[in-house]
């Protein structure tokens, strides 16, 4: 019984932190309608800043905590003012979500540069000696956590419900246009809520710091568990955030205490899916019923660019010939290897482009499908003597099954849920790859994977692998091009921008989302398998969530909805760190920064910008010689 109470108290403490993060989510969501994925990064920023002020600059820990919280709020203010708020009125919700994922990556990269990759621990605020009453032991830090959480909840309630500023904030949440007409400065209120959410997140990270291992990328766990908490409680509901957080904390601690921490992660994910299916709006739904016959987002969608007719054909042939001739330049082994990796990642990116660029569904778990494909093919080929091809096929089937399941849970929901369900899915696959040591080899990875082979043809060198991939890519691009230039592609694009209007024309929105996600999962899985066969080795960090975010950056940078554009993004982000070695340490930072910049300033990516310029050029020439090109 004592143990049980002990675990429940531990769960409530952990839950308080989830609740704090969830409150930050709800605050920003209420005002902007955006799930801000960078929320968790503020937690880790606050905690690491406290560490530096305390340990490096010798401030007393209480002062360091206050200073760090203030600095976190300032960082939030700066990011909000420079990036988040100005982008709000210009980008569709899916792009805002990508932007916030970019901010998360950017802040992780910044933390990596400043603090390195080693774990940190904060000292407890008031000594390590635990307090004991009624036979239950509790660390003094627990009181700090519970007290801070209570203070934040009360403070937020007071601010929102009792103050004029809170009234303005609620007005913006209910109806931004009307609020603006009443003289409320909506961007300023939005900015204030974003900074406040950062401040709250920072506080949460600071008080939980002494009982958590802090690393540059711990932020994404706060992001995901905070989100699960807020999804359980109900997005936008403050009561829901608190209840959801506490509930999640207790359930996780009980599962970890009585079964295993691996099980706890699966349980958290399972809980998320059950809530999404059973009560899509959470336990305490706050959402207003919105009219569906009026378009919900009046936002700008960048046109999907495509080259048509003869121009595209010539360009394609030239590109393929150039790709075939490239090894003749005798690149170094590391560049050749980077080329192969570029091609492998491009296979995964083709899938991601279908689901994100065409169908407009943000998927943050692409690496999870790569992991499934990689581990399934590698294990079957290594331990059970399957042919590599059969291994690839098995991995693809498994990935498609997972994608279908995810889609089943999220397809009735609009907007952001698929993104978060896939992010949670990726982290779950990650934790299985690390935790199931006897199957996957754990963190040190799986070795002795054979080369890819088709019958007697063994692809055991970079060159052979490269040509195999070129052939595969040509086939895949032709297939997908056939699809996206016809009714299939038009249906996906209709779903992307206006699901209601698409449905009114008889497009089965759920079905097309499902197909897109399945194609995406199958291609990611194939890429993962080839990756394992190429390296003869697979470890969780090769196919972890950072990889998903990197793929996202490649896609957006290269150009969403262009099929070929992502190749540019993949080449850029793979080859640059290889050619300029010192860049490697800044890779995460650069990935995040490029992602943010591309979403914000380069709507069609590099490919889109180039194609648009070409189109203008031809259009100008076309009108002068009155030669319009058809399809």
């Amino acid at each position: 019984m004592d143990q049980f109470i002990q675990i429940v108290i531990g769960g409530l403490l952990q839950g308080s932190v989830f609740a704090i993060v969830a409150l930050g989510y709800s605050l920003v969501y209420r005002v902007t309608g955006i799930i801000n994925l960078s929320q968790g990064a503020f937690c880790i920023l606050g905690a690491l800043l406290t560490y530096s002020l305390d340990q490096t600059f010798g401030w007393p820990v209480a002062l360091a905590a206050v200073g760090a919280a203030a600095m976190t709020a300032l960082v939030g203010l700066a990011i909000g003012a420079a990036v988040f708020v100005p982008a709000l009125s210009r980008l569709p919700i899916s792009s805002m979500l990508i932007l916030s994922a970019g901010l998360l990556t950017l802040m992780e990269g910044l933390a990596l540069v400043v603090w390195g990759s080693q774990p940190y621990a904060l000292p407890s605020f008031s000594g390590e000696a635990p307090i004991e009453f009624f036979g239950v032991r509790m660390t003094t830090q627990g009181f700090w956590i519970a007290g801070t959480a209570a203070l934040i909840i009360f403070g937020l309630w007071y601010l929102l419900m009792k103050s004029a500023a809170g009234k303005a904030l609620r007005a913006c949440a209910e109806n931004p246009l009307a609020a603006r007409l009443m003289g409320i400065d909506v961007p300023r209120v939005t900015l204030a809520s974003f900074a406040l959410a950062a401040f709250i997140g920072g506080l949460g990270g600071i008080v939980v710091g002494p009982i958590t291992s802090l690393q540059f990328d711990t932020g994404r766990f706060f992001t995901i568990f905070g989100f699960i908490a807020v999804a359980i409680g109900g997005l936008g509901s403050f009561l829901g955030a608190v209840v959801g957080g506490l509930l999640l904390g207790v359930v996780l601690q009980l599962a970890a205490g009585y079964v295993s921490s691996l099980f706890a992660n699966s349980l958290a994910f399972g809980l998320l899916l059950v809530v999404l299916l059973w009560r899509p709006n959470g336990l305490f739904a706050s959402g207003l019923a919105r009219r569906t016959d009026v378009r919900e987002e009046q936002r700008i969608y960048p046109p999907i660019v495509r080259l048509q007719g003869r121009g595209a054909l010539i360009l394609g042939v030239v590109a393929v010939l150039a790709a075939i001739a490239l090894p003749a330049l005798e690149p170094s082994a590391s560049v050749m290897s980077s080329l192969v990796i570029t091609c492998i990642l491009f296979v995964a990116l083709l899938g991601l482009d279908i689901v994100m660029g065409y169908a407009g569904q943000v998927s943050l778990g692409q690496a999870g499908f790569m992991a499934i494909g990689g581990y399934a093919a590698a294990l079957l080929a290594t331990n059970y003597g399957w042919s590599p091809l059969a291994g690839c096929a098995a991995g693809m089937l498994l990935s498609v099954a997972c994608a279908a399941l995810l889609s089943l849970f999220t397809m009735r929901l609009r907007g952001n849920y698929l993104a978060l369900a896939t992010l949670a899915f990726g982290l779950l696959v990650d934790s299985f790859a690390v935790g199931l040591t006897e199957v996957t080899g754990g963190p040190s990875g799986l070795t002795g994977i054979p080369s890819f082979a088709l019958g007697p043809l063994v692809f055991d060198t970079s060159i052979k692998m490269y040509y195999l991939l070129i052939a595969l890519i040509v086939v895949l691009v032709l297939l997908l091009l056939g699809g996206v230039r016809s009714a299939f592609g038009r249906a996906l694009q209709a779903v992307r921008t206006d699901q209601t209007a698409a449905g009114a024309l008889g497009i089965n929105v759920a079905r097309y989302k499902l197909i897109a996600l399945c194609i995406s999962a199958a291609l990611a899985s194939l890429a993962g398998s080839l990756y394992a066969f190429y390296f003869h080795f697979l470890s969780p960090d090769m196919v972890g969530t950072p990889r998903s975010l990197e793929l996202l950056a490649m896609l957006v940078l290269g150009g969403e909805g262009t099929l070929l554009g992502p190749l540019l993004g993949a080449a850029l982000l793979t080859l640059l760190p290889t050619i300029i070695q010192p860049l490697a340490a800044y890779k995460t930072l650069a990935t995040g920064a490029l992602l943010v910049l591309a979403v914000r300033y380069l709507p069609g990516g590099i490919f889109g910008a180039a194609a648009e310029r070409l189109r203008r050029l031809f259009a100008a020439r076309g009108t002068s010689s009155s030669k319009a090109e058809g399809r």
């Binding site: 016959d293 046109p303 297939l479 056939g482 699809g483 299939f488 694009q493 008889g506």
Partner: protein, 260 residues
């Protein structure tokens, strides 16, 4: 009397305390062009939303060529040949004018995604035929020069015409148009009127919510007048023009409380 394409029977819908649609019944005869008119807030658009099941009616039923539409998803309703447009032109951003029109033909496409991916002959023939039909319709509304232009770059009136074209690409049996003339200039309105006559000549039944009286009086066979959620009158355009209740609903508003 010819068979009814649409029978609206005793439809009711309440939003909060507001009776937006109050026991409305009317028929749309097959092959006719029926106009739904009434002052702002009369419930015209709500009736359309109830017919296509964007909202579920509190009570009442809608029958389409004799079959009940109760409980059908909007997509299923479209598959039956009942296609609607929206009050605010909802063309798809990011696509060209021609592509927008082609989306309308989604249910006409027989070759599945796999055949499309393999560039099958059937799929490509079908695609060419659809493009020809779309171009003919765009020609009819004067948009063929803009067919490769991003549809969001079209002026509002052209976007609304494009939405009608998109709905026609679905080969509807019954077309519901929600204020197609709102935002159209005179020449565009004339093009719309010509299009509507051409549509009816092709034996497609049309029901239209419209404020533009000259358009309604020029093309409608039957006019249904709603006021404050209730059916006020119905009949030929000429009858409605001289109906005292209709005139009062439009002109005598400031005395009554009927402006919801």
């Amino acid at each position: 009397m010819s068979a009814a394409a649409l029978e609206v029977v005793d439809l009711c819908k309440t939003f909060g305390g507001l009776r937006a649609v109050d026991s409305v019944s009317f028929n749309v005869p097959s092959g006719s062009l029926t106009a739904l008119i009434g002052p702002n807030g009369a419930g015209k658009t709500t009736v359309f939303n109830l017919i296509t099941n964007f909202f579920r009616p509190d009570t009442g039923e809608v029958r389409y060529f004799g079959a009940s539409l109760t409980g059908l998803e909007p997509g299923r309703i479209a598959a039956l040949g009942l296609v609607r447009t929206f009050q605010s032109a909802r063309i798809f951003p990011g696509m060209t004018t021609l592509e927008n029109a082609l989306v309308g033909a989604h249910l006409q496409v027989r070759a599945g995604p796999l055949r499309q991916m393999f560039w099958s002959g059937q799929s490509r023939r079908e695609e060419r035929a659809l493009i020809r039909r779309a171009e003919a319709l765009l020609e009819l509304v004067g948009l063929s020069a803009e067919r490769q232009v991003p549809a969001t770059e079209l002026p509002m009136g052209a976007q609304k015409l494009l939405e009608v074209v998109r709905a026609l690409m679905a080969r509807p049996r019954l077309l519901l148009l929600d204020e197609p003339a709102a935002g159209l200039n005179d020449s565009e309105t004339a093009e719309l009127a010509a299009l509507l006559r051409a549509v009816r000549a092709n034996n497609i039944t049309v029901a239209v919510v419209e404020h533009n009286m000259s358009l309604v009086m020029g093309v409608a066979d039957q006019v249904v007048v709603l006021d404050a959620g209730k059916l006020l009158a119905s009949g030929t355009p000429a009858q409605m023009q001289s109906d005292a209740r209709v005139i009062e609903a439009y002109i005598g508003q400031d005395e009554g409380a009927a402006d919801a």
